[in-house]
Symmetry: C2
Subunit: 336 residues, 2 copies
Amino acid sequence: MSEFARVCVDAMGGDNAPAEIVKGTVDALNESDKIKVWLVGQQAAIKNELSKYTYPEDRLVIVNAEEVIDPNEPPVMAIRKKKDSSIVKGLELTKDGTVDAFVSAGSSGAILVGGQVIVGRIKGVERPPLAPLIPNVNGVSLLIDCGANVDARATHLVQFAKMGSIYMEHIVGVKNPRVAIVNIGAEEEKGNALVKETYPLLKNCPDINFIGSIEARDIPKGDADVIVCEAFVGNVILKMYEGVADALVTVIKKGLMSTLKSKIGALLVKPTLKKTLKGFSLEDYGGAPLLGLNGLVIKTHGSSKSVEIKNSILQVIPFKEQDISGKISSNLSQTD
Amino acid sequence: MSEFARVCVDAMGGDNAPAEIVKGTVDALNESDKIKVWLVGQQAAIKNELSKYTYPEDRLVIVNAEEVIDPNEPPVMAIRKKKDSSIVKGLELTKDGTVDAFVSAGSSGAILVGGQVIVGRIKGVERPPLAPLIPNVNGVSLLIDCGANVDARATHLVQFAKMGSIYMEHIVGVKNPRVAIVNIGAEEEKGNALVKETYPLLKNCPDINFIGSIEARDIPKGDADVIVCEAFVGNVILKMYEGVADALVTVIKKGLMSTLKSKIGALLVKPTLKKTLKGFSLEDYGGAPLLGLNGLVIKTHGSSKSVEIKNSILQVIPFKEQDISGKISSNLSQTD
């Protein structure tokens, strides 16, 4: 096994590619000597960006891929047709073990579909969940699943709980992470059919620290570390985070400009306010891992700047050192 | 038909009963002479509160009910057993036509169950949805359904869309309200099984102005007037609104206290900030109507203060004048 955490980075993915992606890669390489990066994408564009920086050249490989998958392309078709795209090539390097992980800010659909089809699931894993870290007033929680496969079954949610617990414990460093299921009330008898079926399974699962239901209102308070839900619900939660926060910032800004007194006040509070809101933004926690695959796939925001790319790359170090895939494999194969 | 909008108000419901409930009732009576109120609850407590105010006594009736349903009681049992409770008596007055509407800040479960069991559905209505108004950056939208009956069918959602459109047009005054279905992407082929089944039904429904899918992120922006979803999802959306807003206010306050400069700024921005956040709070829009019943049932927040009670009572005037129940009845019976 290589001593490096070997990461393939999609140089062409996201709104700010390739400039911010290359910058994030260079920053990661300069920050940690445990990292080796394969930058995949249009070679000329990558080289052009790289020429702006100094970096350890022996830990950077360029892999040429001429095609780019657009976020609006139907994902299944894109994965099938664009064999010379940065996403397909990156996922293939993960599949064949050249790298430990693939990081991309590109098409969510293509990454999720390609992750399953090309990289493949760990034996025993029924569905690979997408699990972003979301901020709360005290730190972060893992929201699992926000992926593309909706209408999950109860057994899927139990696996999400286990994989999420392993991730929070060994990557984020939360001891005995509290697992809760998203519900419309705190009582065990509440919920839709899926939640009612899942609840007793989680309650009787010896591998996790299940604390019961969590109402959506309590998620931003940080009342649980691993927040288990079906992907449609997870998507709504994630996007409400963004939407409500953005709307509040809009109305607050408008409000602050409404009187002379508050305008002066606004000047004084602006730096702190900006810092505070940044700490509560979704974008600073690195990308969301797609768990349960034969290799780590990390999806970052389409709007990723270099810092998110850098953080996502660095996330691969503990993922490899802690052998998360091995832990998921042995944990899920025990009981399934 | 009585010339008054006749409203029964649950004097015993919510955290601030009976004081704030009685105050809200008095305020409504003093604000509009189109209102007549039946205050139901423990007579002695009601009279005690009423003694603090002057109000038009000829438009206030006290109905004694000795029992109180606790929010933690199992609702079906509570409705069945506590015949002398304010909720059961209030719903019975609505059922028998003594009043046009029942307003309560009490047990959501009991009100939702009792609304269906005691008041009963309008012929043709398959499920009565709970439909709160939620703030957005430009005004309000109607979120339908946030009720107790999860796992809805596609035909239910179509009825929600129709009822919500009638409500937004005739009560809130939005011409040709834009109807959207909550989804995890904008494209027609996205979604879970329920959304995929519902989408074409809404698209082909001639009575509504269907604009397609809405992602949760765009709800607070005000991109639709009637936001259709299944109750579990609606509950998550509603509670994320509260949760994210509360969490943001917490971190902002903490942030503002972190430096001397921002502390001074905070003093200057505080009044404006408070006003702005109040305008974006869920509690100032009166209660949520439970639509599709033989009479209007309005559920207000458990934490309702007098202003929410007053607004909920006044809401009954247009509901009666516009004959919303009649409109729902003729619209839904046409096509079902």
